[in-house]
Amino acid sequence: MSSAPSAESMRENDAGTSILARQRLNRPVAPHLMIYKAQITWYLSGLNRITGCLLSGGFYVFGALYLVAPYIGWHLETAVLAAAFAKWPAVLKVGAKVLVALPFTFHSFNGVRHLTWDTASLIDNKKVVQTGWTVVGLTVVSAVLLAFL
């Protein structure tokens, strides 16, 4: 429908763009992360990404170490890990389990929330806040339950 820009308008465009580029050299960028109000929307989204990186990163690191372990004299088999862990004091055991479970439970429940958004449902301000706090509650409760298993 609209044709490619003519030679004159492209030259005008370039002139305009180069003026803008020169202006931007001196202009500051308005503050963003540091000043934006803490809201459940972007906090949970950021947390989803961070827990995702922690979980997959941890998984890759452990997998790689497990493969390499025989060649560097380490023992990372389940039986060895379980025996070592069993010697820890009870408080530390439960504490460590909660810390490890939290990223997993949060990412799982928030993942379900993300999948419902992909169907274009529950996307309105009230529902987003309600489901957000529900996910936070479920995360903490299930992490503590898993820690006491």
């Binding site: 180069s18 803008l20 500051p28 000043i35 934006y36 972007w42």
Partner: protein, 305 residues
């Protein structure tokens, strides 16, 4: 992103011995002005990771006519003067008697400009939330200053910043050139080649017209796009919620015949799919619109062809 741009600049600069092809790879973009040389490879802004000079280190300009029964509230406002480009942005403090000021934030800004500090610069026009000029970040939230009531607790101090992660022209005035170019790029007009059946108007049923409700009311204030962290990091190539809402407005219009072309224009990794459903956009829209829902509908229509 900075690393990509830096290495791309290196690749394009060394024409004699070209760097590996991966550094010179073009970025997916439907914007004509970014094809070839993206704007940010020719210019760099002062980093905003250094915060503006805090209010504790700047002066406080007081209420011009204080009285005993006055309700004095403090405002901290972002200031930067392009006439002194090397000076750092700072937070200037002002105190105002709320009894003498109108109820909205814009009233406070206008009063400061009229009676206290005429150098304070900001955009405004209709003062009723329909033009979109006075969009700014007030107390951490993007909204229209003319629709934002001043919280009357005088113990709390209000902070006013320009729209986040925009280039600042002066004080609270953002550079929205890129935003408008992105809006133009989605062809926000009816595209139709077949004439109307009765030869008079392009008719539309009530049902079809209802599909445009919640889409046509957008005033292009840019509050939503500048609240989106994904738009902060990918402004060059990601269109942002406002422009995507408008592109859905045209996709959903029954009278438009270029639906497939409109959807094809969005079918790459950056233009639409940098949206990660962060949902800051719908939360902040001062007109109560829901860009996130429109974007979800576009993604659905692209997924199920």
């Amino acid at each position: 992103m900075a690393l990509r741009l830096a290495s791309r600049r290196l690749a394009l600069a060394s024409a004699a011995a070209p760097a590996p092809r991966i550094f010179a790879r073009g970025m997916a973009s439907v914007l004509e002005h970014t094809k070839g040389e993206p704007l940010s490879t020719v210019s760099e802004a002062l980093s905003s990771s250094t915060a503006p000079t805090p209010p504790s280190k700047t002066t406080t300009i007081k209420e011009p006519e204080p009285e005993k029964s006055s309700k004095i509230k403090t405002f901290h406002i972002y200031r930067w003067n392009p006439d002194e480009p090397s000076s750092k942005p700072k937070m200037q403090s002002y105190t105002l008697d709320l009894n003498k000021t109108g109820p909205m934030m814009l009233d406070a800004l206008i009063r400061i400009k009229n009676e206290v500090d005429p150098t304070l610069t900001f955009r405004r026009s209709c003062r009723e939330g329909i033009c979109g000029s006075c969009a700014m970040n007030i107390d951490g939230v993007n909204t229209l200053a003319c629709l934002c009531r001043i919280p009357t607790e005088t113990t709390k101090e209000s902070r006013i910043y320009p729209l986040p992660h925009t280039y600042v022209v002066k004080d609270l005035v953002p550079d929205l050139t890129q935003f408008y170019k992105q809006y133009k790029s989605i062809k926000p007009y009816l595209q139709r080649s077949t004439p109307p059946p009765d030869g008079r108007e392009y008719r539309q049923s009530h049902e079809d017209r209802r599909k445009l409700d919640g889409l046509y009311e957008c005033i292009l204030c840019a509050c939503c796009s500048t609240s989106c962290p994904s738009y902060w990091w990918n402004q060059e190539e990601y269109l942002g919620p406002a422009v995507l809402l408008q592109s859905y407005r045209w996709i959903a219009d029954s009278r438009d015949e270029k639906t497939e072309q409109r959807k094809d224009a969005l079918n790459n990794s950056m233009t639409l799919y940098r949206c990660h459903t962060i949902l800051n956009c719908s939360r902040t829209c001062p007109k109560g619109l829901n860009p996130a829902l429109a974007i979800a509908e576009i993604k659905k229509s692209l997924a199920f062809a």
